[in-house]
Symmetry: C2
Subunit: 318 residues, 2 copies
Amino acid sequence: MSAATKVIALCGGVGGAKLALGLASLADTIDLSIIANTGDDFEHLGLSISPDIDTICYTLAGIANPDTGWGRAEESWSFMDSMAQLGAETWFRLGDKDLALNVLRTQLIQRGDSLSEITAGMAERLGISTNIIPMSDASVRTVLETDRGTLAFQDYFVRLQCQPIVSDIRFEGAASAQPAPRFADLLLDATVDVIVVCPSNPFISIDPILAIPTVREALANHPAPVIAVSPVIDGQSIKGPTSKLMAELKLGSSSADVAAYYRDFVDGLIIDQRDAALAGSINAMGVATQCSSVLMSTLDDRCRLAQEAIDFAERLQV
Amino acid sequence: MSAATKVIALCGGVGGAKLALGLASLADTIDLSIIANTGDDFEHLGLSISPDIDTICYTLAGIANPDTGWGRAEESWSFMDSMAQLGAETWFRLGDKDLALNVLRTQLIQRGDSLSEITAGMAERLGISTNIIPMSDASVRTVLETDRGTLAFQDYFVRLQCQPIVSDIRFEGAASAQPAPRFADLLLDATVDVIVVCPSNPFISIDPILAIPTVREALANHPAPVIAVSPVIDGQSIKGPTSKLMAELKLGSSSADVAAYYRDFVDGLIIDQRDAALAGSINAMGVATQCSSVLMSTLDDRCRLAQEAIDFAERLQV
């Protein structure tokens, strides 16, 4: 690999953004492009909302709310309080600062700008040097079949707090969507050194990206090693509903199950030391393993894990 | 007149809203409908903004900013600061609380609700019992020809702070607009007892209402007395650019010039005591006069002037 390692990272929200921040903090040695899930995007209160893009942007800009994992630090809620006074829906909380990105994106989309252009412009304004690229400029919407009927993602995730039992997940619009132009270029770019699948929920954060035609095959055929970081430890998701969902979808909920789900395109999986006993069965699937600590509590954890993913890829490449 | 006097008030923003509040505070004895100018409305940052409707709503709800004359009291500006950080236009200031009304209106308009329905719903939510009716549900936009080119109203009024020299004013969309349904009903309602033209700018706040086909004639032909309150004292506008505009448009800038402009449909004009010398020339136009103090510094002033307008109408009726 050259001195400046060219890295693509597929990324969802909170957990994925932590590793993305770790990768971005290696900016001296790597050239990073983050591909953001947009299956969580939705139109709400007349606004075009892209939760994962925003979480990644806020995290990389150092202005994310460290307590919630979404939204901005030192946020205020006057807008939301006034919306409540006016009888508007308030289950999806938009802070006064956070609202700016959403209002501006909505305006630019209505003007005809692409989500790629809008995201690049906002990242630049926030002082982010990493490329942040939506998976697609087309609308792809994660929809869940549940015991409480068909639910849009944010209805399930935020309004109903993941309580419904999920029987199926689909990505409306994915079949006719294309990867965003810069993502499509990277998928065909032989100078890419490493592809990282961040420790995001495989079914609701990574799968929408994989559901876009050509992406999964392009990852499988790409010359660069593809390294995933497991989002589960000892059968439990680190954050969010991953393990609950995996159980409901009868996919199992261990790191070995994650490996089985990614095996067709992933070359290596970083698993937690507590899952070391699973290494043999994961290796038997043709997926290399590395044991580490995948819990990222501090910025140091994020940088360390990011470097480990790069180093792991380098060893697989050799 | 019956015990519950039925009153229509034509109203612009700040100055007009003061008298509207005075009229509304007589709610025990009058049944009030306020017709709001929407020529100032515009689309900005992707939002549908109706400054005069909102000023009237905030004023009547007791949540208006007493210092600025627009927006809400105890406002915060986190949204605007974040917009500035993102490089968005910030010359039109939208506070965090104020934003709620604008976001909600935009959403409802996109859903297909009429501005009348939206305004009535918001007024109800804000605890306002007075009927607040937009002059029209159609888009009417005040546009000014100036020495700095053709300007949309808010560009002139807020962004350029009324500095350009105005040579003409027109109301785009007015010719094909209709009065909002409840306004149209009131214009034909013989049980209306008094029509009040609030002390708003005749050319930029009242004229858009009059520019809608049938309105000016309906006012002239209505059996109820039409009482205007002069927005100028001694040739100077009490608030805003009225006198500057009148001079530029070569219309003069005295209360007598206001009377001349309204004479075809106004029966009486309340002028300030300092303009008492003009009463004779105004009366000669067929417009009755009453001298009062038209400066409304306190809530008591507003109630007093509102009651004087009703009493003046009653005397003219007899």
